[in-house]
């Protein structure tokens, strides 16, 4: 399994990278390569040029901003995994990242790479959608941004324009009594999940849910938010039965994926169960504050 031939560029900065990308329709950006290289050696992807952005230092950072944390595109997953700012301000990410692949792939895989790749089972994509993250990209010397919920438009398809490079992602930070939960089910620990669920809860002083976000991943072409459940549960005590009913209702009409590993029915049913667990964990964590 050897990749088809390609040219290699290692631009010094992001604009140079964009320029190279714009020059060639069949050029591709490589960051961690943990997903792209397997596709290339199986000749499912055949870029004529690889634009290596790994060593553009300006793209690798984790920065606290107003009510948000911005993570640079080439930040290694293993770095984000252990980062103190992430742990404190985006605990959902800290909980989700250890589920991504293996330590050896997190050592190279990047936050931006995973988001741009848009695998339906991607933990980072699920977090981005659940937290209403904003994806920033660079193209033609200008920076633009797209909310995560609009960024994902199909299985492994994003709204990233041709010639654009994802440059960072901004995760909003929730303050107060915040709790998170993350669950996934797979055949082996660290496999692509059959289905996953993420939840973030902010409790009011009355102990009820002031805000709640619930996302389900790997069950559909891209992760979804359980909007109707969130509506129903806002202001509630998040008792188990209400959560279960709301979540099941939100998933009732969702067309779930069916493949070698799991049936559509399994995904729908277990998505609900994992979402309930995620909310339960989030509630417990928020109450612990």
């Amino acid at each position: 399994m050897k990749a088809a031939p390609f040219e290699y560029s290692r631009p010094a900065d992001l604009d140079e990278a964009c320029a190279l990308l714009a020059q060639d329709d069949s050029a591709r950006v490589i960051a961690g390569g943990q997903t792209l290289v397997p596709m290339m050696v199986m000749r499912l992807a055949r870029p004529t040029r690889l634009i290596d952005i790994n060593r553009i230092a300006a793209l690798s950072y984790i920065r606290a901003e107003d009510d948000a944390v911005r993570v640079g595109a080439t930040t290694r997953q293993c770095v984000a995994e252990k980062d103190a700012t992430v742990a404190k301000s985006i605990p959902l990410l800290a909980k989700a990242i250890p589920n991504i692949g293996h330590a050896a792939t997190r050592a190279r895989g990047t936050v931006g790479g995973s988001l741009a790749n848009a695998d339906p089972a991607s933990e980072l994509t699920l977090c981005a959608i659940t937290l209403d993250a904003v994806i920033e990209y660079r193209a033609d010397g200008a920076t633009d941004e797209v909310p995560a919920r609009d960024f994902y438009i199909g299985p492994m398809i994003t709204a990233l324009p041709a010639g654009a490079i994802l440059s960072s992602v901004r995760f909003p930070v929730w303050r107060g009594k915040v709790g998170v939960g993350f669950h996934e089910i797979n055949a082996r620990t660290s496999d692509f999940a059959f289905v996953s669920a993420a939840a973030q809860v902010e409790l009011g002083d009355d102990g009820k849910a002031k805000r709640i976000a619930i996302g389900v991943g790997a069950a559909t072409d891209f992760p979804i938010r359980l909007d109707s459940a969130e509506e129903q549960l806002t202001g509630s005590t998040l008792d188990e039965n209400s959560v279960r009913e709301a979540v099941r209702g939100a998933l009732a009409d969702v067309e779930t994926l069916s493949d070698l590993h799991a049936s559509a029915e399994y995904r729908r049913r277990v998505a609900a169960d994992l979402a309930v667990r995620a909310v339960r964990d989030a509630l417990a964590m928020a109450q612990g504050h």
Partner: protein, 164 residues
């Protein structure tokens, strides 16, 4: 392309195509055949090398990308001709292998683990090697090897802080 790689503490120059993976470069250009190809798509871990001390899959990196980092292969942790490192010796003591194909990768992963965590629990060890597939051993004697290595290495003399 002519590139320079830092392998086991030495600078080595090689002529590679961009599409040559680090694994193929090590094996074919540098005769470092201790890293093995098991799947070439990043799942089995038999190609593991240390990249700036961290275990990575050499089959998922193109050699041209590896310029500027320190690469350590199994040949680089072997102390000298006929000698074994404490980790290598521990693997021999517990028979933490059978066919040996995944072994260099397991040993490098163990080295990386123990460099950061000198007192790993069984769970730590299981987690650390979970990205390396072994088809022969069922893992028991590998886990024991790493635990034994950790124990022996903890018992070695370590320099103490100088008092000034």
């Amino acid at each position: 392309m002519r590139i320079e790689l830092d392998i086991n503490g030495s600078k080595r120059e090689v002529e590679v195509e961009p599409r040559t993976t680090l694994l193929d470069c090590l094996r074919d250009n540098l005769a470092l055949t201790g890293a093995h190809a098991g799947c070439e798509h990043g799942v089995c871990g038999a190609c593991t090398v240390l990249f700036d001390g961290i275990a990575v899959r050499a089959c998922l990196m193109f050699a041209v990308q590896a310029q500027g980092s320190k690469i350590t292969t199994i040949e680089g942790v072997t102390p000298g001709p006929g000698e074994l490192s404490p980790v290598q010796d521990a693997f021999c003591e517990t028979h933490g292998m059978q066919c040996g194909y995944c072994t260099p990768a397991m040993i490098l992963t163990a080295h990386a683990l123990l460099a950061n965590n000198p007192e790993p629990t069984r769970e730590d060890i299981v987690e650390a090697i979970s990205g390396n597939i072994c088809r022969c051993t069922g893992y028991a004697q590998i886990v024991e090897a790493i635990a034994l290595a950790a124990e022996r290495m903890r018992g070695t003399n370590r320099p103490t802080e100088l008092q000034t």
